[in-house]
């Protein structure tokens, strides 16, 4: 079926703001009440740059990426706020319109390549599908292009692989295939939703490097969603830390690590195990459990688990405010390094104390 790629977006300037998200909210209507998975997130991304979104499981980051892309079903889902992509407001567009953007301008790489690839379709078919559907490529061209794509993502013997099924490949290779599929039509923005979580550690670095290479070659913007700060440390231009459906800190990468303000960010950084630690060093943990998204805690949502929480934290929700360094936003009443910060709950910081107490 021949389809012309519709020029919804217009010609691409080489840089400038590609994506702007303003106060995006995504709520799910469920039996337990309204789940506020994404509760007022704003961010922006320039062409060719990488944004990392970091947070625990259940903080809403995966919902965020899907919501920005517009992939969520509409039944029982409330979506508010604005998403502007390449100058065009795509917030309210119906799926029939978005379909022309998906795959061509925006693409997503999913977490688990075993489940994100169709097990009963050949690899080649899954790649060629986008090419033929969106770009109207004839069959032979599509096969050629697919082969080139597979080679470019580092898969040996690409011709043979085209005829194989997903289960015949290893995990790392499968993820390369999903990347190839996502990149097939040359999107301007790539969402990588926990792309390495389901993979072996040894393969993780390769995949991340691959993504970085592709990004550079194509001047493609990327949103890297992960729970692992270590993944985004060296590979992003900007990081946004998410908690309970909100962004709690956001800064250019180096600034975030050197001048972090929010205690949650501090806890995340501290929890990264380091090779240089002595063996048997206790792992740092963040005590407590992720908050209930139906009825989140009053005040600052991290307050129940924050070792520095004071009374104001529990009653008033801190707004995102600008730090001295430009581009750095944080939401905390008593940020790290401020004179008012007090360690009110030491047991949450030192696991030894916590263990000793129980």
């Amino acid at each position: 079926m021949r389809r012309r790629r519709r020029k919804l977006i217009g010609d691409r300037p080489q840089d400038g703001v590609l994506l702007e998200v303003r106060d995006l909210k995504t709520h799910f209507r469920t039996g337990r009440g309204l789940v506020r998975a994404v509760d007022g997130v704003s961010l922006s991304l320039e062409r060719g740059k990488t944004l990392g979104i970091v947070g625990e499981s259940g903080c809403g980051k995966s919902v965020l990426s899907r919501s920005i892309m517009g992939l969520l079903p509409r039944f029982n889902v409330v979506r508010k706020g604005k998403v502007v992509f390449a100058g065009r407001d795509i917030s309210g567009l119906p799926a029939s319109e978005m379909r022309h953007i998906w795959g061509t301008e925006m693409a997503m790489v999913f977490q688990d390549p075993m489940t994100s690839l169709n097990p009963v379709m050949k690899i080649g078919a899954q790649i060629e599908e986008s090419l033929r559907y969106h770009l109207g490529m004839p069959r032979d061209d599509a096969v050629e292009t697919a082969e080139v794509l597979l080679r470019s993502v580092g898969i040996p013997e690409p011709r043979r692989r085209l005829e194989e099924y997903p289960h015949q490949l290893s995990g790392g290779m499968r993820q390369r295939v999903t990347i190839a599929i996502a990149l097939a039509c040359g999107p301007a923005l790539l969402f990588a939703d926990e792309p390495t979580t389901a993979l072996d550690v040894t393969v993780q670095a390769q995949i991340l490097d691959l993504l970085a290479d592709q990004q550079r070659d194509r001047n493609m913007a990327m949103i890297l969603v992960t729970h692992d700060l270590g993944v985004v440390a060296g590979r992003t231009d900007h990081i946004a830390v998410m908690y309970a459906g909100k962004i709690v800190e956001s800064a250019p990468t180096s600034v975030l690590f050197s001048e972090l303000k929010m205690p949650y960010t501090e806890a995340l950084v501290k929890s990264i195990p380091r090779l240089t630690n002595r063996s048997h060093t206790r792992l740092e943990i963040i005590g407590g459990r992720p908050p209930d998204l139906v009825s989140p805690p009053s005040g600052c949502r991290f307050s129940p688990r924050c070792p520095y929480a004071q009374d104001r934290c529990r009653t008033e929700e801190p707004p995102l405010q600008e730090a001295p360094t430009p581009g750095h936003l944080y939401a905390c009443w008593y940020p790290v390094g401020s004179p008012d910060q007090k360690l009110t709950r030491p047991e949450l910081v030192d696991p030894a104390i916590a263990a000793g107490g129980s």
Binding site: A107, F110, S116, L117, P119, V120, E129, Y133, Q168
Partner: protein, 319 residues
């Protein structure tokens, strides 16, 4: 390959056991089997002795069974005592009727159930899904003969659209009449099937649609129709195929009632009469035929599984 060899062995065992069982059961009945086979019409002891020899009736049951196998292999299924024609002739006459009935019913029910099931899964929990589910549930609680009676009441007796006691007409003689006469019987069978198939497909599809690869296909910008039919449908058909296979087996029994009700001269009808009239050889042949059919269908289903899901294909090839 080993898998197929195993399956083949099982098939053979099942067939042998079934045919043996039927001979065994019938020999339990009182009375001289030779007389039963000849329908009590033959009194000449020489002729009776001939029959005994032909079917090894004076030997133990296993020998009788082997004898039957041997005769069948030679194409000799015997003479029907009730109808006084060779059994093979009877089967040649009656088998097509039942086959048409079954095949048409399956095709009809699948043609209706598949689109409905897919749509219900696509718009799950909305109005269409709920309504169709309720209706389906009602339908599958309706025994086929109840459906048949209602259909006859409305379309035959009230509106005179279709005959209530249709004569079987071969499609080669008069295609229009062929279909017209078979319409009510086929619908009676198909209606309950539609319900079962639709619900099964819907359930499987809803589960499949939760999979990441469906979201991925959407993220690729594929159209809804393409996602539904090209991506989601194939992996969702397992339950459907299994059920269709089981139904074919059940139909062989269920078609009996419909055939009886509408007076269609099919295999089911034949078997009922043969049992009632102690026509051993006919019953024997019918049982064997049904068993073969059942086993064949199951075999085909296994092949279908391998065809649909390449993972199974490869696992089996390696085994």
């Amino acid at each position: 390959m080993r898998y197929f060899r195993q399956k083949l062995v099982q098939v053979v065992i099942v067939l042998m056991a079934t045919t043996f069982l039927s001979i065994f059961l019938m020999r339990q009945l009182k009375g001289d089997p030779a007389i039963a086979i000849t329908g009590g019409l033959v009194n000449d002891p020489v002729a009776l002795e001939h029959v005994r020899h032909e079917w090894s009736l004076d030997r133990p049951v296993p020998i009788q069974w082997l004898r039957w196998l041997e005769n069948t292999a030679k194409g000799n299924l015997g003479q029907s005592s009730a109808f006084n024609v060779p059994v093979s002739t009877l089967i040649k006459e009656r088998l097509p009727v039942t086959l048409y009935l079954m095949v048409y019913a399956q095709i009809l029910s699948l043609l209706i159930a598949i689109p409905m099931g897919v749509y219900a899964a696509y718009r799950s929990n909305r109005t269409f899904d709920r309504v169709s589910n309720t209706v389906a549930f009602g339908l599958l609680s309706l025994p086929s003969f109840v459906v048949a009676i209602f259909l006859v009441l409305v379309f035959s007796l009230h509106y005179h659209l279709f005959p209530a006691a249709p004569k079987y007409v071969s499609p080669f003689d008069n295609p229009v009449l062929h279909f017209k006469n078979l319409f009510l019987p086929v619908v009676s069978i198909a209606l309950a099937q539609v319900a079962v198939y639709m619900r099964l497909l819907r359930a499987d599809m809803v589960a499949t649609l939760q999979n990441d690869f469906v979201t991925m296909a959407r993220a690729k910008g594929m159209s809804t129709a393409r996602i539904l039919f090209r991506h989601a449908f194939r992996p969702s058909t397992f339950s459907l195929i299994t059920a269709a296979a089981v139904n074919v087996g059940a139909l062989i029994g269920g078609a009996v009632i419909i055939e009886q009700l509408f007076g269609l001269p099919g295999m089911g009808n034949l078997t009922v009469e043969a049992i009632a009239r102690r026509d051993f050889l006919v019953v024997q042949a019918c049982v064997a035929l049904f068993a073969v059919g059942f086993v064949l269908v199951n075999f085909l289903v296994d092949i279908a599984y391998a065809f649909i899901d390449p993972r199974i294909r490869h696992a089996r090839a390696l085994a």
